[in-house]
Symmetry: C2
Subunit: 306 residues, 2 copies
């Protein structure tokens, strides 16, 4: 129970911000948390469920006097909201964000940051397929990585303080540069999401199969895909558009590999298929050993502790 | 606790057969269960863990005197094993299987079935990413579909009895024709698996990212893919090669859709992306309503009850 920032402002009140709020309160990380949401509906929900100590109608009111301001809006909206609040940021405050793409956020936000404010981008690798203020829970960040993306000339104290903030919410933290972040995330998250969306769309299109059949007989593979493909469309649209280069590069590699496997199927090359699938098993083993997942058999039977 | 078959023979002792054994015993569905496995190692494991009442060195010994013989080997091995046991099958016995592809199994098995034996293919839609005799558990089939694939001239009593057998193990059952089965499964299972394997392979290939990074930062999307891609390579090689036509057809649709989304990213067409991802959300909702999955947020945090 150590207060790391006196006042934290959460700009945008979706899954991530609401989880941050509950984690901050549970661990006593800030005295005071202000919040802003663009729509009346979200603000009303926040007030009803007690999300944030004060919910404001404008981002300026929420950000004023905050020691840490965290932008929790879709990546495509970061620049505009940074511009809106730039005039009210307190001297010595830290401005951060939780966007899934870092180069674009830096390009669109940095120009609006006053000289006496430390801008330190960040990205917690945590989420669920649910979105909105009601979807948050205090444990979301526990044992998950939060990537901190400082600049060469960032204030070291401010970076350390931001890391402590995320660690107090249960995260493991690391630093990474923005370009590499965007490539790593395109492989481990962005392209897998795009592929899952695509497969679910194909199932829906194939008219010889009824929706009922798709739904009733959704075996393991497909059920996992639908879970992914239920994620927030606005957030993901922005991710794909703003991490365009890495997404297109990894997609290119993906289709190249897929075509090789497709040819192996067409030509009956069982050895190629078997070798490929044997190799992919080892990555899975590494993930289990790294503690990022459990070895318990799942396939649609998962039960979640909140 | 109703005995449905006096003696059941399980040919092949992997995840499915071992789960069947534990379910049969738990619910008292057969007096006696015999088993055969090709390798000494699997037979020894089976004997050590008490899998099957009798484990035999040959499929003939296991199948002789059985009222129900279930082929539980990879799809590509079904024909050979059916040929091996065809001479010993008891008059009036039922021969079935658990293969994930039905047209090919029928083509390769049917010619070996004696006239006085009822051949009724089946496919339980259940599994985990683990394989082998140790991976089985009695609850695997609970609330999962088992597809029964009778022929136009199948013995109706034998079909009803086989359905009762699967229902006694906890499955829901339905009948479906072989061609349609193979198309439905290519969409809901086979192509999703191929895609997951591919994406995991791409991650491994991309040399600018270390394996450690892939593993540590495997966010939701990718972690689900690695789980799928850890499934048994021999089983899946056979599925892709034997359900070739449907797999290639669905893959064609998939790449067509993927290219359209790729173009939307390249040209910055956010509306197309947003519309597509909004549509895929509704399928997910259908799956939850159909009771095939839970609405609890998951993303790598699933905990499994065995």
């Amino acid at each position: 129970m150590t207060v790391i920032y006196n006042r934290v402002a959460l700009i945008g009140l979706g899954l991530i911000a609401s989880s941050m709020y509950w984690a901050i309160k549970r661990h006593g990380i800030a005295h005071d948390v202000t919040g802003f949401a663009r729509t009346v509906e979200t603000r009303e929900t926040a007030r009803t469920i007690g999300l944030c100590d004060h919910v404001y109608e404008t981002p300026q009111e929420a950000a004023r006097d905050a020691d840490l301001v965290v932008l929790c809006v879709p990546v495509g909206a970061m620049g505009a909201v940074a511009k809106d609040i730039s005039g009210v940021l307190k001297a010595g405050a830290t401005l951060s964000d939780v966007g899934s793409v870092k180069q674009h956020v830096i390009q669109s936000v940095a120009e609006h940051v006053p000289r006496n404010v430390d801008f330190i981008p960040a990205h917690p690798l945590a989420g669920t397929e649910h979105s909105g203020p009601n979807a948050g829970f205090a444990e979301l960040f526990e044992n998950r990585w939060c990537m901190i993306v400082p600049f060469a000339d960032s204030n070291a104290c401010a970076v350390t303080r931001l890391r402590s903030f995320w660690e107090a919410m249960g995260s493991k933290t690391t630093t990474i540069d923005a370009e590499h972040h965007d490539l790593v995330l395109s492989v481990t998250s962005h392209v897998p999401h795009l592929i899952a969306y695509t497969m679910v769309g194909v199932a829906d299109d194939l008219r010889r199969i009824t929706d009922r059949e798709v739904i009733d007989y959704s075996a393991a593979g497909f059920r996992d895909f639908t879970r992914i493909a239920a994620s927030d469309p606005t957030m993901w649209r922005d991710i794909f558009l703003t991490n365009k280069d890495a997404t297109l590069e990894v997609l290119g590699r993906f289709t190249e590999e897929l075509f090789a496997l497709q040819r192996a199927i067409r030509t009956g090359n069982g050895e190629h298929l078997h070798d490929y699938m044997t190799r992919t098993r080892t990555i899975r083993r590494g993930i289990i050993e790294a503690g990022q997942d459990t070895d318990a058999p799942d396939f649609g039977r998962g039960v979640v502790k909140r």
